[in-house]
Symmetry: C2
Subunit: 355 residues, 2 copies
């Protein structure tokens, strides 16, 4: 070595569990609006499916006029749609609930964003038609296994109501960031449901079935349900649209800083409408300042935000970020506590010490 | 793809910060007693040093009879010593302190173990001699930078008292797990101080100086000091020996399990003596069971432990592990709280729900 050796410093996925593989995106350490595939969070219910793509077809059946089976080539040749989408696990930030809940203790990184390309599900359904009794559309994945609450084998399956399924932005995707979808993220085909928590975006789609009732598979009717009470199921309702939310990326919680000028930065996102305002407090929520949004806020995407902070006075600071969306939703001080820990979206809070 | 595609599932380092690089070992997901270099936790005070190894020499100076400068070839050719050593950051588990403290929020993975090979520092000091006034030995690293509490530039430097420096197990290491030490872990030479928290094991050694007083560099006299009080420095004393400790690796905190037979597993370690007993409680600490230690407990090393658990009854369980060492030290329910958050070693505790 004659030249100075400059080692590469990069963030990694943060491992939550390996069987199944659940690893979160190092969201505090990423810049910009696109997460590279290797840093996309991984969230699985089961082992990866045993799978050959050499004989892959996608059947659409059930309450349709013309059941059809699509080859990948057919799907690739149809008019495509490309959308920047934030995918957020409904368990993102679960670790922050008080009282604590059971389940994967996701911190702030069960979220990623990138460019998905595919064909509108609507286009496929036009070619099969829908019978008038059609009520929901069920998407089964190739992945299966045991659930902790049962000894039966289940395949991962979820449904969408007809209206959401027919939204032109609901796509059967085959590319992520201009490349075939990585196997771990659903190759060859993944349903992408913009605006909904990511359990809806079924990976490794095996079959699409149109039904005339409410689907009640365990990933629809047991998991991904808000249970407001610890001891019983009263008042339960399904998880669907992403809540308005924000995350402070820099500084880090409990970081020691010296006096100086800092650029506080983060991201904000929502499932319906667009982010219209991000506010930042440096005094624990007593006063709020407007953050800069250097890019135009777009539907389905997170928007980066910044705030210049002159940290001149030593001491401890409680920094909070609060996003508002075009539907009038705003982050609150307290999250909506629910037994399984979904949809955490309280005002993001960190504490730093200026020495 | 004709064959089933079996994706690789591996844990990664868990990123705490990138400037400087602080990433922790995914300790919950590792087996055995040796951590591969890529998963060894990384803890830096500064950027990696700009560095050329092509002209590397190690000077020993100060209060010695014969100041000397050793080439790497000389060091490699001396009688070597190979030791399995646990290196633990004194901030390991800092995140668990209540009330919370500032600084890197290490979880349970600022710890790694492997095989270090080098020459006893004692051997080098024999060849230089020590003047009778010698009191401490200072080790400077090549790494330098600003500290959060100052605008001055400091080099990372630490001292050892003569007795610890002359312990034959205190080595100037050049290999880790049979390979040259990776650059990020101190190539070409790293001081290894078995039994002490790892701030003592100075990386990229630049110079060794024998002095006749107590060294008071900021990494000796400001950081790596236990401050028992939040508001003042009364009662402070330096961080040195690793505390008796244990970590539950499986199951994970807040994990959902179904009824069945489980092997609870973990590691236990201490800085002085050996681990003599690991106990496990399944009822929040009311009753304790003895764990199996399948390998002989050794000085300086962690020992894996296991406990077979028949989880037959549904409900929430608070699982605790408690290690005892041959010096009679035992983990307590509460950690010794200190302002900078060093040496956390309370009984390890997780909660699981059997559904």
């Amino acid at each position: 070595m004659n030249d100075f050796y400059q080692p590469r410093i990069k963030p990694y996925l943060n491992t939550k569990s390996l069987m199944p593989e659940n690893q979160e995106t190092p969201i505090q350490f990423l810049d910009g609006e696109i997460v590279d595939a290797p840093l996309f969070y991984r969230r699985n219910h089961f082992s990866y499916p045993p799978f050959t793509s050499s004989f892959y077809f996608l059947p659409i059946e059930g309450l349709v006029y013309t059941p059809k089976t699509f080859s990948l080539q057919e799907i690739y040749s149809m008019p495509s749609k490309t959308i920047k989408v934030v995918l957020e696990c409904s368990g993102d930030k679960r670790e922050l609930f008080q009282p604590k809940v059971f389940g994967e203790q996701w911190e702030k990184g069960a979220i990623s964003q990138g460019i998905w390309k595919g064909v509108s599900l609507r286009t496929l359904l036009k070619s099969t038609g829908l019978l008038p009794t059609a009520k929901e559309i069920v998407f089964e994945g190739y992945d299966f296994g045991e659930r902790p609450d049962s000894n039966q084998i289940f395949r991962f399956a979820r449904s969408l109501p007809i209206e959401k399924a027919l939204d032109p932005d609901t796509i059967i995707a085959y590319e992520y960031n201009d490349h075939p979808i990585p196997f771990k993220h659903g190759f060859p085909l993944r349903l992408i449901v913009p605006g909904w928590y990511a359990m809806a975006s079924v990976k490794w789609i095996k079959k699409i079935t149109v039904i005339d009732k409410e689907f009640n598979g365990p990933f629809q009717a047991v998991d991904y349900v808000y249970y407001p009470n610890k001891e019983n199921d009263h008042g339960k309702f399904p998880v669907s649209t992403i809540h308005v939310n924000s995350t402070i990326q820099y500084p880090l919680n409990r970081q020691l800083l010296h006096t100086g000028l800092y650029q506080i930065k983060g991201i904000a996102w929502t499932g319906k409408g667009i982010i219209t305002k991000v506010e930042l407090s440096l005094d624990g929520g007593q006063t709020w300042n407007i953050c800069q949004l250097p890019t135009k806020s777009e539907k389905y995407s997170w928007v980066p935000w910044y705030f210049k902070w002159k940290a001149l006075k030593k001491g401890e600071y409680t920094i909070k970020s609060k996003a508002t969306d075009s539907e009038g939703n705003v982050q609150l001080s307290e999250p909506f506590w629910n037994r399984k820990g979904y949809g955490y979206n309280a005002i993001d809070t960190i504490e730093v010490n200026v020495e």
